[in-house]
Symmetry: C2
Subunit: 252 residues, 2 copies
DNA sequence: GACCTCGGTTGCGTATGTTGCAACGACTGT
DNA sequence: ACAGTCGTTGCAACATACGCAACCGAGGTC
C-alpha cells in the first residue's frame, strides 16, 4: 500500500541479515541506490539503522527499544516467566513460549538449554503451525470450525520424514492433542530434535500461549521425551495460575 | 527525506507507548486517518504491527525478531555477558552495558537487580551523556579534541540537584574519569540512584562499551558505592579479556 | 603520481505514489 | 431506531519520492 515504507521495511530485513553496500541493498529491493540512501537516512534519523564506517549498516537502537517495550506489554510472557525459567533450570532443556499470529507460530520467549544444540529459533521468529508442538497446541485450542479453516488454508511443506502433510492428518492430530492436553513434535520440524508442548491458560480458560520443551534426539529417546510431559504440564499449570486461570471454571 | 516512512516510524513510537484509535494516531502525527490506516496496513504486512480487535494496535513480531538478530550481532554484548551476569548475581545490583551512539548513551544489555527499584531504563533506551556514569566513561575514552567537541555540542538538562550543567565542569569530570579508570554518577540522573561505571575494552585497547552498576541510595551510601568499584573493575576486565583485550599492549 | 574502481552523495525534472476528502459501512450503546 | 464511534474505500490533485547521471573521495594498482 505504501511503496516507500514497504521498501524500507524490506530493507530492514536485508540489513538484519548482514550489513552490506548500498548497491547490494538496492539490488535486493530492486531500486536505485540513491533511493536506498534516502530511505536509510530517514531510518537513521529515527535510530532504526546505524552506519558504522562505510559498507556497514546495522539495525539501530530504536529497533530494540521498541521491541523490548513490546515484549514487556505481552502479559503472558511476564506471568509465565517464573514457571518456565524454573522448568528450564530443572531440566536443562530449551523452553519456548509461543503464540498464534496470522497463520503461524511466533516465539515470544526462549530459555536456552544447557546442552545447546544449535536450534533455528529466536524470540520473534515465526514457525509453521503443522510441524511444531506449540502450533498444534494453539490450533487445537480453537473451536473446530476455525481449526478446519486453518487446517485447509495453511501449506504443508515437508521438512522431515515425519512431517504431517495433509489437512486430514493434521485435523486428526489436533483432535488427539485436544484430548490429551499436550502435543508432541516427533522430529517433524527439525530432524534431530523433538518437542512436547502444553497450553498456558488465562482467567477465562482461554489459551494465551503454548510452552514447549525441545530436546535433541541423541539426548533422550521418544519414551524419555514423553516422560517429561508431567513436569511440563506442572509448569504450564503454574504459569496459567499466574495468568489468572483457576482450576475449576471461570476466573474473575 | 522520505515523508511516508518518517510518518510510519513516528507511528511505531506512538503505538509502542500505548495502543490507540486511528484518529488518535492520526492527530499525533498530523495527518488524515486514512493515511494512518494505509501506513498501518503496510506495517502489518511486514508484521511490524498487529491489530487485536478494534482500537488496539500493538507492535508485531518482526520488531522483536529483527531486534534480537541485531542484539546478537553486537559482539561485545555476548562476550561481556558471563562476567556481567556473574557480577549481577554476586552483588544483586542492576548491571547495565551501554555504548555511545550519536551524542547519547544506548543501553545494549541489562541485568535486573534483586532489590528491584523501578528504574527508568530498558535495553535499547537512550540516555544523556552528561549525567550517566556510562556516558562519562565512554566520552572520557575519546581523544581530547573529540571530548571537547562533544562537551560543547550536547545539552545539559538539569535532572537532579547534582547534575553537571556546564561543558567546563563536564570536561574536568571527564579528565578525572580518564585518570581514575572509572566513573561515578552521584545521583546526577535520577534522584535516588547512584552508579559506578568502567570501560570494556577490545583487542586494540579501544573502548567497546561501558558497564555500570546502579544502586538505590537507601541501600548503600556513597562510601558503599565506591567500595563496589574493585568488583566492577574485575568484571569489566574479565569482559575485556573475552572481547580480545590483552593486559599489556596491542592484541592480535 | 596518474589512473581506475568502488562506494557514497547531490541536483534536477518527471511520473508516481501518496494524500486528504467525503461518503459509506459496521458496530455500540441509548 | 438513532446517534456516535471507528474503520474502510474511490477518486482526483498534488506533493513527493524516484531514477538518472554526474560528482566526490578513498583505496588500490600499475
Amino acid at each position: 500500500m505504501s511503496q516507500s515504507l514497504d521498501r524500507a521495511l524490506t530493507l530492514l530485513s536485508s540489513i538484519a541479515k548482514d550489513a552490506r553496500t548500498l548497491d547490494d541493498l538496492a539490488d535486493e529491493i530492486g531500486v536505485h541506490k540513491s533511493t536506498v540512501l534516502r530511505l536509510l537516512r530517514t531510518l537513521e534519523q529515527h535510530h532504526f539503522v546505524r552506519r558504522e564506517g562505510v559498507r556497514h549498516y546495522r539495525l539501530g537502537s530504536a529497533m530494540f527499544d521498541l521491541a523490548n517495550q513490546a515484549l514487556d506489554s505481552i502479559d503472558v510472557r511476564r506471568s509465565a516467566q517464573p514457571a518456565l525459567a524454573a522448568l528450564n533450570a530443572s531440566t536443562g532443556h530449551t523452553v519456548h513460549l509461543a503464540s498464534y499470529d496470522d497463520g503461524e507460530v511466533v516465539y515470544i520467549d526462549k530459555y536456552e538449554g544447557r546442552h545447546s544444540v544449535r536450534m533455528y529459533s529466536r524470540i520473534g521468529k515465526r514457525a509453521p503451525l503443522h510441524c511444531t508442538a506449540v502450533g498444534k497446541v494453539l490450533v487445537a485450542a480453537m473451536p473446530s470450525a476455525r481449526r478446519e479453516e486453518i487446517a485447509r488454508s495453511i501449506e504443508y511443506p515437508v521438512l522431515t520424514p515425519n512431517t504431517i502433510t495433509t489437512p486430514e492428518a493434521y485435523l486428526a492430530e489436533l483432535e488427539r492433542v485436544a484430548q490429551a492436553g499436550y502435543a508432541v513434535d516427533n522430529a517433524e520440524h527439525e530432524d534431530f530434535i523433538h518437542c512436547v508442548a502444553a497450553p498456558v491458560r488465562g482467567a477465562d480458560g482461554e489459551v494465551l500461549a503454548a510452552a514447549s520443551m525441545s530436546v535433541p534426539k541423541v539426548l533422550l529417546d521418544y519414551e524419555g521425551l514423553l516422560a517429561l510431559v508431567p513436569e511440563l504440564r506442572a509448569a504450564t499449570k503454574e504459569a496459567s495460575v499466574h495468568s489468572g486461570w483457576t482450576e475449576n471454571g471461570k476466573g474473575h
